[in-house]
């Protein structure tokens, strides 16, 4: 039986407090729902379509947390309708069970806002006084529309955050006549075709088959986005009183390492995506434990939540999944790259620096990096990331 229905409604503004979610997710969900509520209160339109949209967003957030499926990094609870993934309702219903919300199950205790601020639906560029040729991008989104007719014609579109994804492009392209690798394993014929374009136009085009040696300096420079794109977990950009970098957000202290070392680690590894641990001696290739769920202590894997509260760091940062993940991975990377620590259960697959370039080449130069070198490193890192995790390469090389 559904917990919320037209006969037993939940007040919209009390969802963050009273929505009966699993206790272990209450903290995370409460803060995310609360951001959505704040947004909706400011822009509420009262139409059936708007309500459906809001309910979909709330259910999707709950689904993402319940199923540990990360929301896209360009999605933000401060602008919840933009970049929200379209997850099948049946899947959401299956995961949420009796707490699945419908429009009728909510008491919409809100007032309709007469003139919604349309800037929240898209990108708005505001000319800076005395600097008519520059625009400030307030919200990053693919479409760029200058507001005033007098402002300069901005023909360059801001880079779409989707261009930085590690997932396959929206419409995969490849050359069927050019197999990159092929073989037979058991009853299966396995082939990796050379992906197209062979010279990637954006970071997302880089695949296991990309050859960095075919790329010129100018090809490499095309990979940089033309504005800063936030790729860390959204919570890392919220000011909660921790030490911060203006662009990269919160810097979690890690014992044994300086602020500069930690910040350098964040700049070089700004995007932590689907990380798992390698279990030595494990025969199966499919069962890699989540990196964050476990901590390696004296050569043994211990469930993170069993010991988290006993760690000193737990008193310094919020008890939220994003912070726990961030701390564990940063510490691991610093221990690996600087501390030269040996791990019995290392990260599964390659994770090299500059896997994702998140800001224009000029911004990297300002921080002391050579853009050609790091763009080349980006291609190398992405190819290594994909080749080391590609199940076809694994099947073919293991049985070679």
């Amino acid at each position: 039986m559904m917990l919320y229905s037209d006969k037993h409604k939940i007040k919209f503004t009390s969802i963050s407090e009273n929505y009966q979610v699993k206790k272990s997710f209450k903290g995370t969900l409460s803060s995310m729902h609360s951001s959505v509520i704040t947004y909706v209160v400011k822009h509420y339109q009262g139409t059936a379509k708007y309500k459906e949209q809001v309910v979909k967003v709330i259910n999707t957030i709950t689904y993402a947390v319940y199923s540990a499926e990360p929301l896209p990094f360009e999605w933000s609870p401060q602008n919840p309708f933009v970049n929200m993934p379209d997850i099948d309702d049946d899947d959401i219903k299956r995961v949420l069970g009796n707490i699945y919300l419908t429009v009728d199950a909510i008491d919409w205790d809100l007032k309709v806002v007469e003139e919604p601020d349309d800037s929240v639906y898209g990108v708005k560029s505001t000319p800076i006084k005395n600097e008519p040729k520059k625009n400030i991008i307030e919200v990053a989104k693919p479409k760029f529309t200058p507001v005033e007719a007098t402002s300069v014609d901005y023909s360059v579109k801001p880079t779409d955050p989707l261009d930085l994804y590690l997932q396959a492009p929206e419409v995969p392209q490849f050359d069927y006549s050019k197999p990159f690798m092929q073989g037979v394993d058991g009853a299966d014929k396995l082939v990796i075709y050379t992906t197209l374009p062979e010279i990637p136009k954006r970071q997302r085009d880089i695949s296991a088959t990309t050859d960095v040696n075919k790329m010129s300096d100018s090809d490499l420079l095309n990979l940089f986005p033309n504005h800063f794109i936030q790729t860390r977990a959204q919570a890392m950009y919220e000011d909660i009183g921790l030490d911060r970098d203006e662009q990269f957000g919160n810097i979690i202290p890690i014992e044994g390492y300086t602020r500069e070392q930690i910040l350098k680690c964040i700049i070089e590894y700004p995007h932590l995506y689907k990380l798992a641990r390698h279990q030595s001696g494990l025969q199966s290739n499919t069962n890699f434990p989540s990196f964050y769920g476990w901590i390696e202590l004296n050569g043994e894997l211990v469930p993170t939540m069993d010991i988290w509260d006993s760690l000193e760091i737990s008193k310094q940062i919020p008890r939220q999944a994003e912070y726990v993940k961030e701390y564990l991975v940063r510490k691991y990377l610093l221990d690996r790259d600087i501390g030269n620590v040996y791990f019995k259960y290392p990260l599964y697959g390659e994770l090299q620096p500059f896997l994702t370039l998140v800001m224009p080449a000029e911004d990297y130069i300002k921080r002391g990096y050579d853009p050609i070198k790091i763009a080349k490193q980006c291609v190398i890192s992405r190819v290594a990331f994909k080749q080391s995790r590609n199940p076809i390469i694994r099947r073919l090389t293991q049985n070679a």
């Binding site: 899947d91 995969p172 392209q173 374009p197 296991a208």
Partner: protein, 196 residues
């Protein structure tokens, strides 16, 4: 797998015939007769971008007409873009379907001489009525009399009533053959929904 479109990008735990990404995407490709040798896998980037944006626009605009010189190429590429957009969570439902209208009409007309529709035509009918995104092609050489117009118009009407998206791929509308009041309505409908 040798017929998976994601192999160069894949970082899944295992590559086998049970992989959900492989099963769902290859099912839709196979049912829409798109083999790995097809040109859609090395399409002109500009055309690809154009058709991707048309498919994206079909979320909001429930009827879109695309005028193309090469209607076969256009419908196949639109179908592929649609599959790429919708394959996830499709769970072996015919969520994107390319209806070759002249073949469909032929199937219906053949069934008049038999006891009923063949299983193949039954399936085409079901998919045409229920696909989340339907691409209608092969109308180039249809002579649109009352029956042909009514079949297409009622399909469009039912789909619209169910909130489903449809893209019609056509040559220049002036080259379509037909007559009667329904043909006028059909052409009007297509003219009003042309995507530039």
């Amino acid at each position: 797998m040798h017929n998976c479109i994601f192999t160069g990008f894949c970082v899944n735990g295992e590559c086998d015939k049970a992989c959900p990404d492989y099963v769902q995407s290859s099912y839709l490709l196979e049912k829409n007769n798109i083999s790995l040798k097809s040109n859609v896998f090395h399409a002109d980037p500009k055309l690809l971008q154009k058709y991707t944006s048309i498919v994206n626009a079909s979320d909001e605009k429930k009827l879109i007409t695309v005028v193309a010189n090469n209607t076969n190429e256009a419908s196949e590429l639109l179908t592929y873009c649609g599959i790429c957009k919708h394959w996830k969570h499709s769970r072996l439902h015919m969520i994107v379907y390319n209806l070759r209208f002249s073949q469909y009409l032929e199937g219906i007309q053949k069934s008049w001489n038999t006891k009923g529709m063949t299983e193949e035509v039954e399936y085409i009918k079901i998919w045409a009525e229920t696909a989340k995104l339907l691409i209608i092609s092969n109308i180039d050489y249809v002579n649109f009399k009352e029956f042909q117009c009514q079949t297409l118009l009622s399909l469009l009407q039912n789909r619209d009533a169910n909130g489903l998206s449809t893209i019609i791929v056509t040559p220049q509308l002036t080259s379509l053959a037909g007559d009667g009041i329904f043909f006028g309505q059909l052409k009007n409908m297509m003219t009003n929904s042309i995507q530039k």
